[in-house]
Amino acid sequence: MVRKERKKREPRKVRIGVFVCQCGSNISSVIDVEDLTTYAKTLPNVVHAENMNYPCSRQGQEEIKDAIKKKNLTRVVVAGCSPRLYEPTFQRCVSQADLNPWLFEMANIREFSSWCHPSTPKEATEKAKETVRMAVAKAKLLEPLQPIELPMTKKVMIIGGGIAGINAALDLADMGYKVYVVEKTESIGGYMALLDKTFPTLDCSICIEGPKMVDVGRHPNIEILSFADILKVEGYVGNFKVKIRKNPRYVIAKNCTGCGECRDACPIEYPNPSDMNMGVRKAISVPFDQAVPLIYTINRDYCIECYKCVDACGAREAINFDQKPEEIEVNVGAIVVSVGYDMYNPEDMENYGYGKYSNVFTALELERLLLAAGPTGGKVIRASDGQKPHSVAFIQCVGSRDVNKYEYCSGFCCMYTLKHAVMLKEKYKDAIQIYVLYTDMRSGFKGYEEFFNRAQKAGINFVRVKLENRRVTEDPETKNLTVYGETEDGKPVEVEADMVVLANAAIPRNTALGLAEMLGIPVGKDGFFKECQPKIRPTDTEIPGIFLAGACGGLKDIPYSVSQGSAAAAQAASVLGRESWAVEPIVARVNEDLCSGCRVCESVCGYHAINVEKMGDKELAKVAEGLCRGCGICSSACPMDAISMPNYTDTQVVAQVRAVLGRGEKS
């Protein structure tokens, strides 16, 4: 109705202005912009054409606005670069001159002409003319549109409570937003809660992360949903609906005081994954003492139900063996994904002997042995005989930087190996020999190179070996190990050691793909979540309102993960801070008279944005405007021709095609 009225009030003839951009020499060095401008003037409905150096500059925009007013322009075409870069700028510009922003069209004569045909300027100019001709033909048929406003839920969800997620949560909570932290395991903290010291300052990891974890637990705006799984994510920016399952701990959270008397009474032990299964925990316990939230959990896989814990808990009555999984639904306006990484199990690279020789360790295992609260009380000892090693060989890039395994560099291994080597050397001095067999030592970023120097001065032996032809063998009697390798120029290297530590690759979470699918965000070739633009939008995903932080978007050390947590928080806040979220009105439109409810559109839509629903006595396709990305696939797939994309209508596209074929307007 509204649209029709507007058409009535628009009796004027369409008056198009064409602005040709020189783009410094980017365009003008190949294309004859004068000729192009003159040509543009000859096109139907074009009442104004000019060329200028940078229409995108402030001055250029002023000129366009002037021309709109003076020449009474009703459509504007800029022949310049890609709409992806500058369309928003020009849309804003024309709207300042009281023209509807969707009455603007861009002709890309830089990427399509000057840049790709630099040696054939004549032909390039001809092609540019065709491009402009098409744009003008379409511009004539453009219709004014209104942005779609979506309401904004002022709450946010952080998925994954590692150090990145913790920082995002605290920042957003401090800004006043309600924050849900969904953590898969029993406690937030991620890997940092398992580390002993952190490079390059060697401060105690849990001592610096612990207070932040406690802050998250205490913050009035934060609700931790731990020991929980994300089941389903629906909706769109401002209006996400997330279904979560809270797994039963068999302990009533509000009654548990975290005293640990149940643990002391429990007779059953099982391997503790937080200790890399090198130590044990009780069937009722917390994964580590600083766990947040401090709620005990019964592992029913091991529990024998003797109910000693029930007796020990006594009047607190915190134990409930009948607890069931609980499903809840939470509405949020934005989501930060910070699920971190997994570690590659190097057992399948048999040349390293991990899993075969008892004194071959992974770096994370060594980290737990170094930790005073770890399974050995901080004693670094061999598995074969419980003795302290006299020599340790670290092998770098186990699985990483290997085109047959993980092509990327895991990023933090060089630095944590330096950390481990320095800690062992500075503690045991001459009583220990340390070898680091590395491919390249990567110590970029603040304080890292200095730390490398400290390691070299401490008397650690650095031996550069290639990835190929590495091998570890064991003396079956002494269980001592020999590491064989080759230098870059093929000379053999042989190192004897009591203990070997592998810097095994860090890899994407095994749950990453499932999560990506639920959220509708892509993962890259390496398996990590893909950012929208790796340089200038590193914490954005392709989906508005969903952000990335920390190692789940590609491996990052702690300082980098912390910064990303805060960056994602700021991004999320810039969404949550709005009263409503405006979406491009270029979303699919369904002609209900034509729609047969056949569901072809539903099956082709990659964004779950179009669904057939019952409406009255008919089944009709319905578009969720917040989800529709305007790709148009439904429109082209629709067998009934019932779906159209505003400003990409059949009539408009046909006009463009006719224009490029030189057929002129359809009469």
């Binding site: 391997p271 091991y302 008892s358 399974p375």
Partner: protein, 309 residues
Amino acid sequence: MPLKKLKTDKADALTLEWVLHVKNYRLTLDKNHCVGCQICTLACPKEAIKLEKQPKTDGEKAKKAKVDMDLAKCNFCGICDVLCPYGAMKVTVNGKHALSVVEKESFPQLIRDIQADASKLPRGVECREICPLDLIKVTWQTADGKPVEDIDLLTDEERKGLKVKIDIEKDRCPCCRICEFKCPDGVLQVRKFINGKILIHPEKCPKGCTDCLDVCPIPGALYLSDDAKKVYPNEVFCVYCGACKAVCPVDDALELKRTSITHASLRSGAWNKALERLTSPVEVTKELKAKGSQRARDSVEKRLGWKAM
């Protein structure tokens, strides 16, 4: 070193193991002592133990059922160790026998009430072979404390002033009471720790089948009728371990019911469940009633949906 979970099956022993960096959990089934009875299978709270009937070759005696243990389910709690009447199961941590369920009072120990009064043993009585499982050792010492090698070689004079000692391997004793009957009055007194009822319906037995008798570890607990055609139980010696039941080829030819198990007194849900599986829910509520454990009894009743007497 990654956690290793190992299962080794050797002629003498079946072993489950968790090898952690500095800790080693091990459960060993001593196949020589195992009689293939039902106790561990029923008692295991993780249902990690299974009995497998062994195929029988014609003309040969039935073989005892084989115990198999599931590495993925076992949590080394040691309940099988505590309850095995024949002491065939052993849980060790770092090589040392460890029963944390007993230490933490989360599971009661069996009470094997075996009284031996050596002073009543008449001189010259041969005691050595009275135990079918060879668990009793009688040793004589001269008045000055020297061990006597062979009592038969001593003169009457030398026998004066001899001291006698009876050692019994209690951990492996199923308390069948054979020794009590075989030995002169009052020397040995044994009380069964498992009580129950065993019935064989001869009319249901397959013709000529003696499988139960073949595997029964206690001589005389089952016996063959005079015409050597049917097997009958003798409740006096039966220990209700169920080795017979485990091999019986027909459904209800052999009825075995356990009614009570003598154990140290303590509150334990794990015990209640083990008892329920070994005896029956009725017996459990009875025991709970005797203990006055109202809450536990209520929960059993709620689960079963009936009221205890």
